[in-house]
Amino acid sequence: MFTTGSKLFVGATVLSTVGAIVFGASVGGPTGLLGTIGLISVAIAFGFLAGINFFTRDGNVSAMEPAAELNSAAAQPPVGRSMWPLVTAVGVGGMAIGAVSKPVVFKVSVILVLAAAVEWMIQGWSERASSDRAYNDSLRKRLLHPLEFPILASVIAALVIYSFSRIMLTIDKDAGRWVFIIIGAVITTIGFVFAAKRGMSKGTAGGIVAIGLLALVGVGVASAVSGQRPIEEHPGITTAVCLGTASEAEIEEVDAKASQTVAAKSNVLANVYLDDTDHLFALNGGIGHVEYQEITVPRSTTVHVLFHNDSAEPRRLTVHLGTFPAADGSAGSEIADCTTAVEEGGEAFLTFRLDKSQDASSTPYRLTVPGVEGQEIKLLVP
């Protein structure tokens, strides 16, 4: 019934289960919990091993097939070379180093040891699976390739993406685009060469790819160590900027990176023009022949206005979004939004939405151009 080996593990399972119960019952607190969980885990592990041992009958094939004494896999000489002892050793060493230096080294080493253990185990098992070496090899592949390929592919992809992103974050913004172009060109060229030279050996191709990968990862690691470049931050458009009450420097910075082109020109409620005599007027979207000094805006609707600056100065269009009592009962302050400064002949979009009727605001809704006096377009919100 029970084989010798499984008896040992069954015993160990029972023992650790009893241990878990005793420990859990006698020692309280977090230590007790931890110890109990540990012992239960041990019990489960032993139970699992007992099951396997029982299932494989201690790996004793001869019990069922006497002939196996001679021609079973176990009777064959071992295959020989294996990289897994070395990898395991490196992993264990790494764990030791990691334990005293960086946790990340420790974690990577643990993963390495686990991976090596799985690989070693299955390889070891497969080498004994039958007496046909080629078959054994194919067996290992069938079991492990479905694991190895996706995991390796993900790891390599992650490495490439991580390294590349570190590089791009480290180097200068302008250099970045060249690096991008060059790496892309190199990869494309190598791809072409591979495609053209069909006779190329697997080793050569693999070598080139490996070197490229190593170089990328190397530079990536170096970049990660040296840290990111400082990321520029631009102040956003604020009411203060729109009303001209912000500092000169802040306003300048807002406008520094402004785009002067507009892609979408449809769907506008109105086109607002500042002409060369600093006269501000609106053409309602649709009717191009009547100049308006007031625009009716439907309430609670997102609307777009397209601002055209035909004056000599850079100008912005500001929309005054009203003044409402604050939550504490005070009068509140005026809200505004605006475009960035638009050069002569430039255009900019201004999108806004007015949720309250004009009577609810203590200041009128209107469009103005800061710096141009006496010009405004009323916004009527019934």
Partner: protein, 670 residues
């Protein structure tokens, strides 16, 4: 279950000086061995046989056809009278959404897949499809996806956004029930089915044709299926992306279509219709293929202008990608886009017209036999012409701004889909039933079936032209009496007629279902070649053997089977076509020269397991992400099982075991 294979039965050499013989296990490694049953329920559950899968596709689609039909009847009941209260507004919206979704995704598409699966390998002289397990996966995904989609009825209500699911009405703010989540995820699952099926059939057609079968020797049905698979291949990714965007917007707070975040809701419309218009051709082309088989058979002459029909099918496939915005003429695209799409839409009428003309000319000068299949095929010509012509009126963009979203459109596409696609599928049922089951569907009931459906379609959908022109919009739960007018164009009258018509169609379908049972009960064996047919599928037994052909036929001509039966004989009155061989003789010849080594794939457990995992993930996305984790684990398990299972099942594992000198070796692919 064994992770270690059993040792070989090779006797050991004991005590000899010679090195022990190498032993290769007789049984391959696997978590499970491959299932081997060829009878019983397991043979269906784990099958990879394209014919069994085809039959299951058909049965399930037919079931969903009845479900969608009941939904349609409820809709027509609600609309039979003004301000009616059969359905509530919410339920009505769910009903028309699910009616369209069910009919398109769970009936017409998979029913076409049923015929494609069953007959495409037979028509090109192959023993199975290229990837049999993927084929099985496709079916199970369709089934589980369809069931998943319909469970929404019982879990808080079905989708209520219309099958076009326009944003932002489909966002969680405007449709707070889980219906749309079910819809999105259900369509993702059935979408995978369509996509893998498409790849499978394309590879099959391109690589597995019998010797001598050039592309231009392929039957038109196979051609049309090939075109459809290419359409699917490119269209399904688009809808998949769109559905993912919607899914992320509804479930994970993304803002792809949120206007307040600067998005444009028209993005959804473009994505949907770039898929949605090719979808129309995905629906109709298989049916075109079927009637292109049926008409020549019963006219006793080859398809008129085979090349024109094939190329116009391909042309429809190409131009079909350039007309999607004609669903959006009122969306505010601007005059340039509208003009371009308007003209492109008119262009597509040309290849479609070519087909009608060629079918008509196929009949011209023929020797017409009016079997039920033939009646349905002629019905398609008539009804599709009406639908196509009203389509031309929609192509005229300014008039379309009047017609769109009225019942005129409903009339148009139902003439196309019911009159074109569904009637074509029925032609296929009657034509191929003896091949699939070895029994003839009753022709008398068939005639009833045809006339009721033909009459019903006209009774239901012809009045809808009038309803539309009188300004009755679609998707309205009620129509008010004050807008009906009176006299000949009384909307109330025509709505009633349309509702009556819907029940006439239902009666026709019911007769078909009865016919199936009557036929099955009668157990009369059909003749081997009841229609004097023309293509390869008829060269083998009915129903075909598991391996399709005893000998892979060598093809010499289009309509190979016909040319094996008939030869031109000179007589005094000039050359005459004379039957030189019967189907039985040809079959006997094939059987006598059977291939010795027949290569057939084994069944597999994993397609159904993998397919089952996806709805679990989907339920998880809706109710609790932990369930998704379980589903994902099952997916990974199933994929590994799929990879690890033996490519070869042992001969002795077969039930009954493969005997004689033929072995059942297994294809490693798929």
């Amino acid at each position: 279950m064994a992770i270690i294979e059993r040792p070989s039965a090779v006797p050991a050499t004991v005590g000899g000086a010679a090195a022990p013989e190498l032993v290769t296990p007789s049984r391959a490694l696997g978590v499970f061995a491959r299932p081997v049953q060829s009878t019983g329920w397991k043979s269906w559950l784990f099958t990879v046989d394209h014919k069994k899968l085809g039959i299951m596709y058909g049965a399930v689609s037919l079931f969903f056809f009845l479900v969608g039909g009941i939904e349609a009847l409820l809709i027509r009941l609600q609309l039979a009278a003004p301000d009616n209260t059969v359905l509530s507004a919410g339920l009505y919206n769910e009903m028309f959404t699910m009616h369209a979704t069910t009919m398109v995704f769970l009936f017409v598409m998979p029913m076409a897949a049923a015929f494609a699966n069953y007959f495409l390998p037979l028509q090109i002289g192959a023993r199975d499809v290229a990837f049999p397990r993927i084929n099985a996966l496709g079916f199970w995904l369709f089934l589980f996806g369809g069931i998943f989609l319909n469970t929404s009825w019982f879990l808080g209500g079905a989708a209520d956004g219309g099958w076009f699911m326009y944003s932002p009405n489909s966002s969680a703010l405007f449709s707070p029930s889980h219906g749309i989540d079910f819809w999105v995820l259900g369509l993702q699952i059935t979408g995978i089915a369509s996509l893998v099926g498409a790849i499978n059939l394309i590879v099959t057609v391109l690589n597995m044709r019998a010797p001598g079968m050039k592309l231009m020797h392929m039957p038109v049905f196979t051609w049309m299926v090939l075109v459809v698979q290419f359409l699917l291949l490119f269209a399904m990714p688009v809808i998949t992306v769109a559905l993912f965007l919607l899914s992320f917007q509804r479930n994970f707070g993304a803002t792809f279509f949120d206007v307040n975040q600067g998005a444009d809701p028209l993005l959804w419309q473009h994505l949907f219709w770039i898929f949605g218009h090719p979808e129309v051709y995905i629906i109709i082309l298989p049916s075109f293929g079927i009637i292109s088989e049926v008409l020549p058979t019963f006219a006793r002459k080859p398809l008129f202008g085979y090349k024109f029909v094939v190329f116009s099918g391909a042309a429809i496939g190409f131009v079909g990608w350039g007309v999607w915005a004609h669903h959006m003429f009122a969306s505010g695209l601007g005059p340039v886009s509208v003009a371009v799409f308007s003209v492109a839409t008119m262009l597509i009428a040309i290849p479609t017209g070519v087909k009608i003309v060629n079918w008509t000319l196929t009949l011209w000068g023929g020797k017409l036999l009016f079997s039920t299949a033939m009646l349905f095929a002629i019905g398609v010509i008539v009804l599709f012409t009406i639908g196509g012509l009203s389509g031309v009126t929609h192509a005229v963009a300014p008039s379309d701004t009047q017609q769109t979203d009225t019942y005129h459109i409903v009339a148009h596409f139902h003439y196309v889909i019911v009159g074109g696609a569904v009637m074509g599928l029925f032609a296929g049922f009657y034509f191929w039933w003896p091949k699939m089951f070895g029994q003839m569907l009753d022709e008398r009931l068939g005639k009833w079936n045809f006339w009721l459906m033909f009459f019903g379609v006209n009774l239901t959908f012809a009045p809808m032209h009038i309803l539309g022109m009188q300004g009755q919009p679609r998707r309205m739960v009620v129509w008010p009496e004050k807008l009906t007018g009176d006299g000949f164009f009384d909307l109330a009258f025509w709505n009633k007629i349309a509702s009556v018509g819907a029940f006439v169609i239902a009666a026709g379908v019911l007769i078909f279902v009865i016919n199936i049972f009557v036929t099955a009960k009668r157990k009369v064996k059909a003749p081997l070649d009841p229609w004097d047919a023309r293509t390869l599928e008829w060269i083998t037994a009915s129903p075909p053997k598991e391996h399709n052909f005893d000998r892979i036929p060598t093809v010499h001509a289009l309509d190979e089977f016909f040319h094996r039966k008939y030869e031109e004989v000179d007589t005094e009155a000039g050359a005459r076509l004379v039957k030189v061989k019967t189907a039985e003789e040809i079959l006997a010849e094939e059987e006598a020269n059977a291939d010795h080594h027949i290569h057939l794939p084994s069944p597999s457990y994993w397609p159904i397991v993998l397919a089952l995992a996806l709805p679990i993930i989907a339920y998880g996305v809706i109710f609790n992400l932990l369930l998704s984790v379980v589903g994902t684990a099952l997916v990974i398990l199933a994929i590994f099982g799929w990879c690890l299972e033996p490519s070869v099942a042992d001969d002795s594992d077969y039930d009954p075991p493969a005997g004689g000198d033929s072995t059942k070796e297994l294809a490693t692919l798929g």
